[in-house]
């Protein structure tokens, strides 16, 4: 009996600590998991594999009323850049800047760099 109570309370606390989606302001999807995998399993977390997951997240996010987490678009932009998909990279950096003007200086730097890569 005592054990069962622990499980119920444990679940409730675990839900709070795992930051499940109901309680967050942003849509996070697999963003942080991809960051982790870049370092924990770099062979698997290629730019292509990450983008596959994150592009799916974009669709899921669109079905909610939550904005994408800060850094999400910029991270995608960086992956597009690595693959030489410069138009998509530019678009991602510009969207990050539009959603989060705080990122402006860094996004402008990346966009400028893309301009040179294209030339």
């Amino acid at each position: 009996m005592k054990h069962k109570i622990y499980i119920v309370i444990g679940l409730a606390v675990a839900a709070i600590f795992s930051g499940c989606n109901q309680t967050t302001a942003y849509y996070w999807g697999e963003y942080e998991e991809q960051v982790y995998r870049m370092y924990a399993a770099p062979d698997q977390a290629t730019a292509v594999a990450q983008l596959e997951v994150l592009e799916l997240d974009l669709q899921k996010a669109a079905a909610t009323d939550k904005p994408l987490a800060p850094g999400f678009r910029a991270h995608m932009g960086f992956l597009y850049y690595q693959l030489g998909r410069f138009d998509e990279a530019r678009n991602a950096f510009e969207t990050e800047k539009a959603e989060f003007p705080e990122s402006g200086k860094m996004m402008d730097r990346f966009i400028q760099k893309l301009g040179r890569s294209n030339a």
């Binding site: 054990h3 606390v13 675990a14 942080e32 998991e33 960051v35 987490a69």
Partner: protein, 218 residues
């Protein structure tokens, strides 16, 4: 399924730990309140633990609690790659960049310096415990003034408490599987960062993007 079991155990442990600690006096938020940084650059942590991947495992669980508190958090992996590309291959070197330079190339209001003090699992016969500890220091990029600092340690034991010997053996087997990779430390890192930034009176005050911004300014 394993994840669920792990969460139940983990949740129970967190709960049982939570009740028995006297909270320290509330932090002095004068500097943080007067500056009100909007954006935070998180540099890859220094690593003083024996787990060589601790720095980046820890880094990957920082953004969510920090951003949910209402701050803009620069994309951590992109920042890391950008600095590496510019001749700074390690967190140690990244922590040496002058604030002027950071201001000039990235432009955050504040920089978060992290040190992972401990990251690892200790195995016993029937259970194991995972310990993650980190120190954080938030600095005003324009003045170099410290805005906030804190050290937090989280220990999670995978022993189940009650139950017979068979149950305990099963629990031990499960925790061995889970703890056999970096993943145990990664999960505890997430809890540790959540506590580090969001615990009331010790963590950060709400940033401008949180709807509760300004409500905790007493």
């Amino acid at each position: 399924m394993l994840k669920v079991i792990y969460r139940v155990i983990l949740g129970s442990v967190v709960l049982s730990l939570a009740g028995c600690v006297t909270p320290p006096p509330k932090k002095d938020y004068t500097a943080l309140r007067s500056m009100q940084p909007k954006s935070i650059l998180v540099l890859p942590p220094l690593n003083q633990s024996i787990e060589e991947n601790a720095s980046y495992s820890y880094l990957s669980t920082v953004t969510k609690p920090l951003a949910e508190m209402g701050y803009y958090v620069y994309p951590v992996a992109v920042v890391d790659a950008f600095l590496k590309e510019n001749g700074l291959p390690t967190p140690g070197e990244m922590h040496q960049i002058s604030l002027d330079k950071i201001d000039q190339i990235i432009g955050p209001d504040a920089v978060l310096y992290l040190t992972v003090l401990n990251y690892g699992s200790k195995y016993q016969v029937l259970d194991s415990s995972t310990n993650v500890s980190a120190r954080a220091r938030l600095v005003d990029v324009k003045t170099g003034n410290e805005l906030w600092s804190r050290t937090v340690t989280t220990v999670q034991s995978s022993s189940s408490g009650g139950g017979g010997i068979a149950e305990m053996l099963v629990a031990a087997a499960i925790s061995q599987v889970i703890n056999s990779s970096m993943d145990a430390g990664h999960g505890v890192s997430r809890t540790n960062n959540f506590r580090l930034f969001t615990e009331s009176g010790q963590g950060l005050i709400y940033g401008h993007r949180n709807e509760k911004f300004g409500t905790d300014l007493n």
